[in-house]
């Protein structure tokens, strides 16, 4: 298994680091305060490959708290609001795109 840090890091726009919380699997986002949040609006946004690498490195170091951190694209609206940058991240944030058999 190659570490995500060994892979070449290229970003195409504003990006964040996301992972899943170890004890319950919840979707989490790396914050600027070297922590994690389930709230996308708290995530640290990076804009260069170097910044992304650094953010990823500190995230990967938190092996106890988070599983499988990776860099994901985001969209920043004019209002400054951070939105998921692709369908996969949209689904991770909002949940499944279908009705659950049992309403949540």
């Amino acid at each position: 298994m190659t570490s995500p840090l060994q892979q070449k890091i290229k970003i195409t726009g504003p990006s964040i680091v996301t992972a899943n919380r170890t004890w319950d699997g919840a979707v989490i986002y790396r914050t600027a305060a070297q922590g994690w949040s389930t709230d996308l609006s708290h995530s640290a946004v990076v804009r260069t490959a170097d910044e992304a690498r650094a953010l990823l490195a500190e995230s990967v170091a938190d092996d106890v708290g988070a599983v499988g951190p990776y860099i994901a694209p985001v969209e920043i609206k004019e209002s400054g609001k951070i939105k998921p940058g692709n369908l996969r991240e949209h689904i991770r944030l909002q949940g499944v795109t279908i009705d659950l058999p049992v309403p949540a």
């Binding site: 899943n20 319950d24 699997g25 092996d63 106890v64 795109t97 279908i98 949540a104």
Partner: protein, 551 residues
């Protein structure tokens, strides 16, 4: 129904305690994720998009009502109130917390359910025909051999770190409902001229990135030699399977690269050296396993009871009866399929309430036994025909009587991008839309048997390669696109489907499927020529033309 004895239960409990310790060491940091991942996979715990996914084993697709109730309990207590039945006769829960998993496993262990080896590079659930033990014309119950194999492969010290996953399937009927030809080892139970039980052994079948139909390695392996022969295959695979590239690590690649003759020779050489060993299965061992399978005390019942005669005037009941009930080997009984494919619903899901209700119905009408099929439906295997009208009413009340079994809206689909971190595209909404387009039962019956399989990525968990119509989700420039194949089959005439043309966008898939069905209805020779047979007869071209004429 196989009854676990003290030894079986002890092993499951010991496994739960081991996993509890492993989770503890993970959460404390003593185990890194890299070290833990393989351990959690060996207990069926994946990390998906939103949460952990927990895959529980249902050996050869057989459940007792107590077990089904316990699955409902897990859905309620540890998850979001529902579970998903898979194409390998297992059940998946999508929202499990790692920290609570040991408790969930302990709850399951109380009724003899485990999650051992439902993931990881080891030997997985030995699947079989969901009609095992009750299908007419079956040679003998394949589940006895499935259980023998299950025990042999559980926590096998030599084969717990294989190059890649390894899947077995067994069938004992002429019509293969277990898809043995697309498994790593497929076993076709039959008898030799002396009337002794043995197996045609096939190897190297599988779907995924590079689909292969399995090849016969030995036409008859005596039952006594089954385990030693399987051990020989596994040892050759463990030693020589590729470990440098996960996309080339399945046994199907080894068989392909060596060629079946050379591979067969490697296995034979290995096997000859271990024949007559402690692995020889003697009759006493088979009898012991057989003795712990309980079979119902069937009554002597008429084929056409009064209750059935009376109910025949109800067209809705009749439609369901003709669609969802099947001939049982014992007169007066029926095998009943419970469709988990309601119109507009995600295929293969059941709520905790539904599971509890089915458990009650199983107690009342099916000697407490339920089956799980790889087409993601449930079955009640021992229903007296006189009980069919009452059963139908009860099933209809809980939404499990959609009369679409084996029809166009009986879709097999993987969870896809809504759940799965491997997926490129969503599959469930595609399935849902298709059930809406083909919601009219008259139309569906007119079309006849038609298996649609949907996979959200090349890993093919939806078995799209062997669908009469196969749909494969791919990603193009950040958008969801779908490749469509036709003419695949999973049964004894297994073959891989053929691509009809360029991938189509998410919004167009349902239209394309409708076009394919329309083309079939126009081109079929007779009403009872199935879609898949029409494709075989005509080839892909006429269908391709119809679909791409205006696209």
């Amino acid at each position: 129904m196989y009854t676990y004895d003290e030894l079986d239960r002890t092993l499951i409990n010991e496994r739960v305690e081991e996993f509890r310790d492993q989770v503890k060491r993970r959460l404390s940091g003593e185990l890194t994720e890299d070290e833990f991942k393989m351990l959690r996979l060996q207990n069926g715990v994946y990390l998906q998009l939103h949460a952990y996914m927990f895959r529980v084993a249902i050996p050869y697709g057989t459940l007792s009502s107590a077990q089904l109730r316990r699955l409902a309990h897990v859905a309620r207590r540890y998850d979001r109130g529902y579970g998903h039945f898979t194409t390998r006769q297992n059940i998946q829960f999508n929202w499990i917390k790692l920290a609570e998993l040991p408790d969930a496993l302990a709850d399951l262990a109380e009724v003899g359910i485990h999650a051992m080896q439902t993931s990881g590079n080891n030997t997985r659930n030995v699947t079989s025909d969901q009609w095992a033990g009750v299908a007419p014309g079956e040679i003998e119950d394949p589940r006895i051999w499935s259980e023998l194999l299950r025990q042999y492969t559980t926590l096998h010290p030599e084969f717990s770190f294989l190059p890649r996953k390894f899947k077995f399937a067994i069938t004992a009927s002429a019509h293969d409902r277990a898809a043995i030809k697309v498994h790593d080892i497929g076993l076709r139970l039959h008898k030799n001229d002396a009337g002794e039980t043995g197996f045609e052994v096939l190897v190297g079948g599988g779907l995924g990135r590079t689909p292969f139909i399995g090849k016969t390695i030995k036409p008859f392996v005596h039952g006594h030699d089954l385990l030693s022969y399987v051990e020989a295959i596994l040892r050759v695979y463990n030693r020589y399977g590729r470990r440098d590239n996960i996309y080339k690590a399945r046994i199907k690649i080894l068989v392909h690269e060596l060629g079946i003759e050379k591979f067969a020779k490697e296995v034979e050489d290995e096997w000859l050296q271990m024949r007559g060993s402690a692995l020889t299965v003697d009759d006493a061992v088979i009898e012991d396993i057989r003795s712990r399978f309980t079979y119902p005390a069937y009554e002597k019942l008429p084929h056409m009871p009064e209750e059935l005669k009376k109910a025949a005037h109800d067209p809705q009941f009749e439609r369901w009866r003709k669609n969802s009930t099947f001939t049982h080997k014992v007169q007066g009984y029926a095998i009943v399929t419970l469709s988990l494919k309601p119109v507009g619903g995600p295929p293969g899901d059941a709520t905790a309430e539904q599971m509890d209700a089915v458990a009650d119905l199983a107690d009342k009408y099916s000697f407490g036994e339920i089956r799980v099929g790889h087409e993601q439906n449930l079955a009640l295997p021992h229903v007296a025909r006189r009980d069919l009208p009452a059963l139908w009413k009860a099933l209809d009340a809980i939404g499990l009587a959609t009369p679409n079994v084996n029809l166009v809206s009986d879709i097999i689909a993987c969870p896809g991008l809504d759940y799965c971190s491997l997926a490129n595209a969503r599959s469930i909404p595609i399935a849902q839309e298709l059930t809406r387009r083909f919601a009219n039962h008259d139309t569906a019956e007119l079309i006849g048997r038609l298996h649609i399989n949907i996979s959200g990525c090349i890993n093919a968990c939806g078995h799209h390669h062997v669908g009469h119509i196969g749909i494969l989700g791919v990603e193009k420039n950040g958008e969801e696109f779908y490749q469509i194949t036709i003419g695949g089959r999973a049964d004894e005439q297994a073959e891989v489907g053929t691509l009809i043309g360029p991938a189509v966008a998410y919004g167009e898939v349902a239209d394309v499927i409708e076009d394919l069905v329309e083309a079939y209805l126009a081109l079929r020779e007779r009403p009872d020529e199935l879609f898949v047979d029409a494709v075989k007869r005509l080839g892909v071209e006429p269908f391709r033309e119809r679909v791409y004429a205006t696209r």
